[in-house]
Symmetry: C2
Subunit: 259 residues, 2 copies
């Protein structure tokens, strides 16, 4: 019996081909079939663009898998199933499949759904994830800002939870990464202005791509329609930190340093 192929969740990083890891690079140049996500049939694939910009030719055998932009559970489940079925026969024949993922395959990625759906069809197929650099790490690096330092707390969330949530989390965290800021951008900028945090916020769009854009004064983009692949990094240097238990410091009887 042939051993089954492995499904790789191949993280490519957020856009700069230099941020592809050595392991991902080795797999890209290996014998695995490529599969890549598109939002509609015949559409572009951002993941494939990264690999192309890295100088690799896309093999004829590379398979697009369609994951539409929707939150309807039954539509998503149908596409996950169709995608899993598309790659299943190759895997069962012993062929490895590399699913190309922008950013990191464990962080806001379709890969987990694809892998879970596939394992429901055939539980014996091995799955491996190659971790990658996220967009917000690349954005922080590009800006020369620390995402988190020493005892900092860092929160990452879609901005769509709303202004009240963001306002509240700014009291609890030293840094926020706000994703999918498009629908609330003006309101977030107003909030940051009210709180005196505009100087500690940066906007980054398509980091590491040729069309990358970094904005230091957010008021310039208050009324813009920004790209889907954009984020805000916000620091709150005013947050009072309280005490932090460290190293092997003795615990109080309740095991609590910061009630």
């Amino acid at each position: 019996m042939t051993a089954k192929g492995c499904l790789y969740g191949l993280s490519l990083g957020p856009g700069d081909p230099g941020l592809i890891t050595r392991r991902a690079w080795e797999l890209l140049r290996g014998k695995g079939l490529w599969a890549y996500p598109v939002r509609h049939w015949g559409g572009d694939s951002f993941a494939l663009d990264i690999v192309r910009r890295a100088g690799l030719a896309v093999p004829d055998s590379a398979m697009p898998l369609c994951f539409p932009m929707t939150h309807q559970p039954e539509v998503l489940a149908r596409h996950w199933l169709a995608a899993a079925q598309t790659i299943l026969s190759s895997l069962e024949r012993g062929q490895d499949v590399c699913f190309l993922v922008e950013g990191d395959a464990s962080t806001y990625s379709t890969f987990g759904h694809l892998a879970r759906t596939l394992r429901a069809l055939d539980a014996d197929i091995p799955v491996a994830v190659i971790a990658g650099v996220t967009s917000y790490q690349a954005a922080a690096a590009h800006l020369g800002l620390a995402l988190a330092d020493a005892d900092d707390r860092l929160a990452i969330l879609p901005a769509g939870y709303g202004i009240h949530t963001i306002d509240h989390l700014l009291d609890e965290f030293d840094a926020l990464v706000l994703l999918k800021v498009k629908p609330l951008l003006a309101d977030i900028i107003d909030l940051l202005e009210r709180r005196g945090l505009l100087a500690h916020a940066r906007f980054v769009e398509k980091v590491g791509c040729p069309e990358e854009r970094t904005v230091h004064d957010l008021r310039q983009i208050r009324d813009e329609r920004v790209n889907y692949l954009s984020l805000l990094l916000v620091h709150n240097p005013q947050r009072p930190k309280g005490e932090v238990a460290r190293g092997c410091r003795k615990r109080t009887p309740q095991g609590e340093k910061h009630p």
Copy 2:
């Protein structure tokens, strides 16, 4: 006048040499001088270990820089200054310097302090950060777990903020990454048991290193003294999410979807 050398914050990822990025690899094999952190003179360097395990020989010119494990601001500032002074003359002679960083140079790293101190000595020295994979992304990949999915909120913080804080943040976040868990491990495990979340928590130590350890049943390590380079990933699948504004959905007049 010679152009000044560039200080690179060279992220190496958390331990697996396969997670070094192509750009970091290219720099490691280039002409830049290496500098690497040690906790005391003559001590080991975890960053250097990663590079050694990648198969690279450490050049004779590689410079250890000492950053002791302390939180005393004046001790830290003195060591940052000494480290900056050590590399300054090379940079001013036009020599690039690659400071090797475990994990990601923007995420709980000494690099930001070194760069800031150096720029205070000579504001003209260019600084560039090469982003890397963090330990918690590598841990999630290794476990085959999503760190964050769809509308998830993710928080990353040192566990030392205490049980009350962790308990509270479990209500607000779908996933927590708890770092430096050593001093509070037993209390955290008790909390997770009380909340019925033990099955959704994993412990990972030195991910990607030969001595990596993954623990699925945290009760096994409740009374252990664990390594400094260890973390907990905790998911709270019970968190009620509320509504999330997405895409271009029309905003309410107050710009608020989730008050």
